[in-house]
C-alpha cells in the first residue's frame, strides 16, 4: 500500500515538473517572438557570408531552421529552453519510477487500466520528445508536449484513478504486456507527431499570410522549422507509430481469439482502433496523392489523433463493450 501511495506522489511530482517545464518553454517561445532581430534572417545572412567565404561545410546550420541549432550563437538567450529540457528529463524519471512502483504494488505489469494507460502513455510521449531532442533540436515542441503531459497526468490522477490491484483472468496473459504495451507506445508517439503536425499547420498558415496567425503574438512560429521539415518529422514519427498500431491490432486480434473466442467482433474498442488505423492509412495515402500532400495531409494527423484520444477516453467511458477494463 505504501508503494502505491508513493507512486501517486511521484506522479504529482512529475506533473509539477512538467508544469514548470511548460512555463519555461512558453516563456522561451514568447521571448523568441519578441526578439527584435529576426533571427532567421540573421542566420541566413550568416550562412550566405559563410558560403561566400568558403567556410567549411559543417557550418552549424541545421536543416531545421538555423536558430534551432543549439550551437548557433543566436541573438536570443535560450537558457529557459535549457531549463525546460532539464525539468522535462526530471519528469520522465519521476514518472518512470512512479510506474515501476505502481507495478510492484499491483504485482503485475503496470498497464492494465485507464489510469495506468494514461501514465505510461504520457511517459512514452515525453520520453520520445526528450529522446528525439538528443539527436536534433526539437525544443520548440517542448511547451506543447509538456502541456499535454500535464493535462493527461492531472486527468489521470483526478478522473481515472483506481487502486493498484491484480487483474481478472481475461487479462492474465503475456499479451497484456505486448498488446497494451505496444498500443501505449504507439499512442505516445502519435502524440508527439500530432504536436508536430499542429505546428506545421500553424506555421504554414502564418507563412501563407493568415490574418489570425500573422499577428505578433504568433511571432514565435517563425522560429520553428519550415513546414516541410515539420512535415517530414511528423511523418517519420507517424510511420513508426502506425507500424506499432498495426501490430496492436494484430496482437489484439490474436489475444481476442484466445480470450473472447473470436479474433474480431466489432466491439467498440475494436471499431475505434480500426478507425484510427484507417485514418492514418488515409494520411499515408494523402501524403503521396497529388493535391493532398503537405497541409491537407497534416489535417489527417489531427483527425487521426482525435480518434486516438476518443478511442482512449470516449470508448472507455461512454460505450460498454468487452473491452471494459478501465476499472471505473
Amino acid at each position: 500500500m505504501e508503494l502505491a501511495n508513493l507512486s501517486v506522489l511521484l506522479v504529482w511530482g512529475a506533473a509539477t515538473a512538467l508544469a514548470v517545464a511548460l512555463v519555461a518553454f512558453a516563456v522561451d517561445l514568447s521571448r523568441l517572438s519578441g526578439a527584435k532581430v529576426d533571427a532567421r534572417d540573421a542566420a541566413r545572412d550568416r550562412a550566405k557570408v559563410a558560403v561566400g567565404a568558403g567556410a567549411p561545410v559543417d557550418e552549424p546550420v541545421s536543416p531545421y531552421g538555423p536558430d534551432a541549432g543549439a550551437t548557433a550563437p543566436g541573438p536570443v538567450n535560450r537558457k529557459l529552453a535549457g531549463i525546460g529540457m532539464s525539468v522535462t528529463w526530471l519528469a520522465v524519471m519521476l514518472l518512470f519510477v512512479a510506474i515501476v512502483l505502481r507495478g510492484v504494488a499491483a504485482g503485475r505489469t503496470p498497464w492494465a487500466n485507464m489510469y495506468e494507460f494514461a501514465l505510461v502513455g504520457t511517459f512514452v510521449a515525453v520520453a520520445v520528445f526528450v529522446g528525439v531532442n538528443t539527436r536534433r533540436d526539437v525544443r520548440f515542441l517542448g511547451a506543447f508536449v509538456a502541456g499535454l503531459g500535464v493535462l493527461f497526468l492531472v486527468l489521470a490522477q483526478t478522473r481515472f484513478f483506481v487502486e493498484a490491484m491484480g487483474v481478472q483472468p481475461a487479462l492474465q496473459k503475456y499479451w497484456l504486456v505486448i498488446h497494451v504495451g505496444v498500443a501505449i507506445a504507439a499512442t505516445g508517439i502519435f502524440t508527439v507527431a500530432f504536436v508536430t503536425s499542429v505546428l506545421q499547420l500553424l506555421r504554414d498558415g502564418r507563412d501563407n499570410g493568415s490574418v489570425l496567425l500573422g499577428s505578433r503574438r504568433w511571432g514565435w512560429l517563425d522560429h520553428t522549422p519550415a513546414p516541410s521539415a515539420l512535415e517530414s518529422l511528423s511523418f517519420r514519427l507517424n510511420s513508426v507509430a502506425f507500424v506499432l498500431w498495426t501490430f496492436t491490432l494484430i496482437g489484439g486480434a490474436i489475444w481476442a481469439e484466445d480470450a473472447w473466442g473470436r479474433y474480431w467482433g466489432w466491439d467498440p474498442k475494436e471499431v475505434w482502433s480500426f478507425i484510427v488505423w484507417v485514418v492514418y492509412a488515409a494520411y499515408l495515402h494523402a501524403r503521396t496523392t497529388r493535391g493532398w500532400s503537405g497541409t491537407r495531409a497534416a489535417w489527417f494527423v489531427v483527425a487521426g489523433y482525435a480518434c486516438v484520444l476518443f478511442n482512449f477516453t470516449g470508448v472507455n467511458l461512454i460505450f460498454n463493450g468487452k473491452h471494459s477494463y478501465s476499472g471505473l
Binding site: R44, A47, A50, V51, G54, A55, P56, V57, E59, V61, P63, E163, A164, M165, G166, Q168, P169, A170, Q172, K173, S228, S232, F235, R236, S239, F242, V243, T246, F247, I250, A253, I254, E257, D258, G261, R262, Y263, W264, G265, W266, D267, P268, V271, W272, F274, I275, V278, V279, A281, A282, H285, T288, T289, R290, G291, W292, C307, V315, F319, G321
Partner: protein
C-alpha cells in the same frame, strides 16, 4: 489502363505524386501536372468523358483505381464504421437492439431498415470496402507487373549535371577514373555479393562539352520498398478473402455442461449452434468431452474483494478412436480438439433439485442451471415441474441461488461472495399450466407467469421457499416438498468453434505487417558517380544522390561512396553549399529521368 507507365516501366496510379519515380527531387517542385500534359490527371478537374460507353467505363475504372478515390474510400470507410460503435449491434447485443427499437419506435425502424443495427454486414458498409478492394486490386496488379519488370531493369543512366541534386560530393584523386569508378561501384554493391545493397551499373561516357570521356557508376537501392508496399496491399486482399472464407466454413456451438457430465460434438448436443453457409455437419469430428471438475478462485483482500482470479475446467476428452486424455480449459487458454477450439466462456452453479408432488411422487429431479446476475454470483434460475401426478396442477419455481446468502430485514436476499460459503436457494412458487404440452419451444431460463397462480401467504405476499443444501422443505398449499442436494455441482458454459481460415488470416496479417514495415523504412536511393581526368591531370570524382521522399541518410550515403575513392584524395574546399542553397529547381532535374530504354 489506369494510371501511366513511366519510361522506366514503373506503374504509377493516377493521382499519385511521386517525385522519385519521375526522377525529380521533392522540394519546390511544381505539381507534375504541368509536365505530364494529361489534363485528366489534374486533381481538381476531372474532365467529363465524351467517349461513349466504353470510354465512360474506362474513365470510371481509371477514377476508381486512382489514388484520390482510394483516399476518399478510406475516409468513407472510417466514417461508416462509426455508427456501429454508437448504436447497439444485433450480433453482439441483440437485447440492446430490441430495447432501442422500443425506446425509439420511429427512428429505430428507419435505422433498422437502413442496416444501422448490422452496420458491418450492411449493404453500404460492404459496398465501401468492396469498392476499396476493387480499387486496390486495380491499382496493385499493374503496379506488381511493372515492379516485376523494374526488378529486372537496370539503374537509371547517369544524369549529365550533378549540381542540382539534394546530396552530392566531389573530390580529386591521383587514381585513374576507371579505378575510382570500380572502387565506388564495389562500395555501393556492398560486401555480400549475392545480396548487393545497391544494384550497380559501371559504365563509360563519351566526352561531352568541356568534359572529357568519363567512367561512370549508376546505382539504385530500395526495390524492396516497392516490394514491401505490394506485399502489404496484396496481403490485405488475402486477409479479406481468408476472413470471408472463414465466415462461410465456420461453426460455433455453445454447450452447458455440469460437473461429472459431458457432451458430444454433434449439432444436436449444443444448446445453440451457428454455422456458415458452406458448413457441412460431417465436418464435426465426433469426439466427446466430460467435465470432471471446475475450480474458481476469487480475491479476498479488501482492495479487490471478490474479483475473479482464476477459472479452471478439468475435462476429459474422448477421441473418436476411444483414446482418452485429461485437459484443462481456462479463460484465455482454450484447448484444441480435432481442429476445433473449446473455450471456457462462463460458469455458475447447477444445484440438484428434487420435487415431490402432493402424492409424494418424484415429479422432478435434476440439476438446474442458475445464471449469475452479478459478480457475487447471485444467480437466477427456473424450475418447471410439468410431470406431476394426474389431476394435480403443474408447478413452476423461479428464484435465486445465493452462494453466500445475505438476507436483509425486509426479506430480500443477495449473495455477498461468489464461493459457496453459506449457500441458500430462494424460490417463489407458481401453479397452473406451464404451457409445455402444446409443443411450442420455450426458453428454459424463463417462466411465463402470466397464466400461473403464485402461492401467497396469509398477508397476500408471495411465499418464498428457502432451502439449504441437504434440506427438504415443505411447499406451500400442500403442494409437496422440495429437496436441495447436498453437493452443489458447478457448470461451465463451453463455446466450441471451428474456423479453418485462422492460419491464413494470421499469415496474411503478419505479411501485411512485414510488408508495411519494409515499405516504410527501406530507403529508396539512387547514387551516381562520374570520374574523369581534370585539367591538372588529377582525376575528378563527382557523386550525387537522390532519394524517395525525405531521407536524412542520403548525404551520408553519398559521403560513404566518396570515402571509397582510392589514391591520394583531396576534397575541394566549399564544395558543398549549406543545405538550403542546394535546393533543386525543377527545370534542372528533368534530366535524371532519362534512363536507358529497356532494350539496351
Amino acid at each position: 489502363m489506369a494510371g501511366r507507365t513511366s519510361r522506366e516501366g514503373t506503374y504509377v496510379p493516377e493521382g499519385i505524386a511521386d517525385e522519385f519515380t519521375q526522377g525529380e527531387p521533392a522540394q519546390g517542385a511544381p505539381s507534375s501536372d504541368e509536365r505530364s500534359g494529361d489534363k485528366q490527371q489534374k486533381p481538381d478537374r476531372p474532365s467529363a468523358p465524351a467517349l461513349g460507353l466504353v470510354g465512360t467505363l474506362r474513365w470510371m475504372w481509371r477514377q476508381l483505381t486512382s489514388m484520390r478515390v482510394a483516399l476518399m474510400l478510406l475516409m468513407l470507410l472510417a466514417v461508416a464504421a462509426v455508427p456501429g460503435s454508437v448504436l447497439p449491434q444485433r450480433n453482439q447485443d441483440a437485447a440492446g437492439v430490441i430495447e432501442y427499437l422500443a425506446d425509439h419506435p420511429t427512428a429505430g425502424e428507419w435505422l433498422d431498415k437502413a442496416g444501422f443495427f448490422d452496420v458491418y454486414s450492411s449493404v453500404w458498409f460492404s459496398a465501401i470496402y468492396i469498392l476499396l478492394f476493387v480499387s486496390l486490386v486495380g491499382c496493385i496488379l499493374p503496379r506488381s507487373a511493372a515492379h516485376y519488370r523494374a526488378l529486372r531493369g537496370r539503374p537509371p543512366r547517369v544524369p549529365s549535371r550533378f549540381n542540382r541534386f539534394p546530396a552530392k560530393a566531389s573530390a580529386t584523386t591521383d587514381a585513374s577514373p576507371e579505378q575510382v569508378a570500380d572502387a565506388v561501384a564495389a562500395r555501393l554493391r556492398g560486401k555480400i555479393s549475392w545480396l548487393p545493397t545497391f544494384r550497380v551499373d559501371r559504365g563509360e561516357e563519351a566526352a561531352r562539352g568541356k568534359r572529357p570521356a568519363s567512367a561512370t557508376v549508376s546505382a539504385e537501392r530500395g526495390y524492396l520498398r516497392e516490394t514491401g508496399n505490394l506485399v502489404f496491399h496484396l496481403a490485405l486482399v488475402g486477409l479479406l478473402v481468408s476472413v470471408a472464407t472463414g465466415q462461410l466454413l465456420h461453426y460455433r456451438g455453445q454447450a452447458i455442461v455440469t460437473e461429472g457430465r459431458g457432451f458430444a460434438n454433434a449439432v444436436v448436443d449444443y444448446d445453440t449452434f451457428e454455422k456458415g453457409s458452406w458448413f457441412r455437419p460431417e465436418s464435426l469430428v465426433p469426439f466427446s468431452m466430460t467435465l470432471d471438475r471446475f475450480e474458481s478462485e476469487f480475491a479476498s483482500d479488501t482492495v479487490a474483494f471478490a474479483q475473479a482470479r482464476d477459472f479452471t475446467a478439468h475435462v476429459t476428452v474422448t477421441e473418436p478412436s476411444g483414446e482418452q486424455r485429461p485437459e484443462q480449459i481456462k479463460v484465455n487458454h482454450p484447448i484444441v480438439v480435432d481442429g476445433a477450439k473449446v473455450y471456457l466462456q462462463g460458469n455458475g452453479f447447477a444445484p440438484d433439485i428434487t420435487v415431490r408432488d402432493a402424492e409424494g411422487e418424484v415429479a422432478f429431479a435434476g440439476r438446474v442451471t442458475f445464471i449469475p446476475q452479478d459478480t457475487m454470483y447471485t444467480s437466477r434460475g427456473v424450475v418447471k415441474v410439468p410431470d406431476v401426478s394426474p389431476g394435480l396442477d403443474q408447478i413452476g419455481f423461479v428464484g435465486y441461488f445465493l452462494p453466500t446468502a445475505e438476507v436483509e430485514a425486509d426479506g430480500s436476499a443477495r449473495s455477498a461472495f461468489p464461493q459457496p460459503v453459506d449457500p441458500l436457494l430462494v424460490l417463489e412458487v407458481y401453479t397452473g399450466d406451464l404451457g409445455l404440452d402444446d409443443g411450442s419451444p420455450q426458453n428454459v431460463y424463463e417462466l411465463d407467469t402470466a397464466s400461473l397462480t403464485p402461492a401467497l401467504d396469509e398477508n397476500g405476499d408471495r411465499v418464498k421457499v428457502l432451502a439449504r443444501p441437504g434440506e427438504t422443505v415443505e411447499l406451500p398449499d400442500g403442494l409437496g416438498t422440495l429437496t436441495l442436494g447436498d453437493e452443489l455441482p458447478r457448470y461451465v458454459a463451453l463455446d466450441l468453434r471451428h474456423d479453418p481460415s485462422l492460419t491464413f488470416v494470421l499469415v496474411f496479417a503478419l505479411l501485411a505487417l512485414g510488408g508495411l514495415t519494409v515499405s516504410l523504412f527501406t530507403p529508396r536511393r539512387r547514387v551516381w558517380a562520374r570520374a574523369y581526368a581534370g585539367q591538372d591531370g588529377a582525376t575528378v570524382v563527382e557523386i550525387a544522390g537522390l532519394a524517395r521522399g525525405d531521407d536524412a541518410g542520403l548525404q551520408a550515403e553519398v559521403d560513404r561512396a566518396l570515402a571509397a575513392v582510392p589514391g591520394e584524395v583531396q576534397q575541394p574546399e566549399a564544395a558543398d553549399a549549406p543545405a538550403e542553397t542546394s535546393v533543386v529547381t525543377p527545370d534542372s532535374v528533368v534530366e535524371p529521368v532519362e534512363t536507358r530504354s529497356e532494350k539496351d
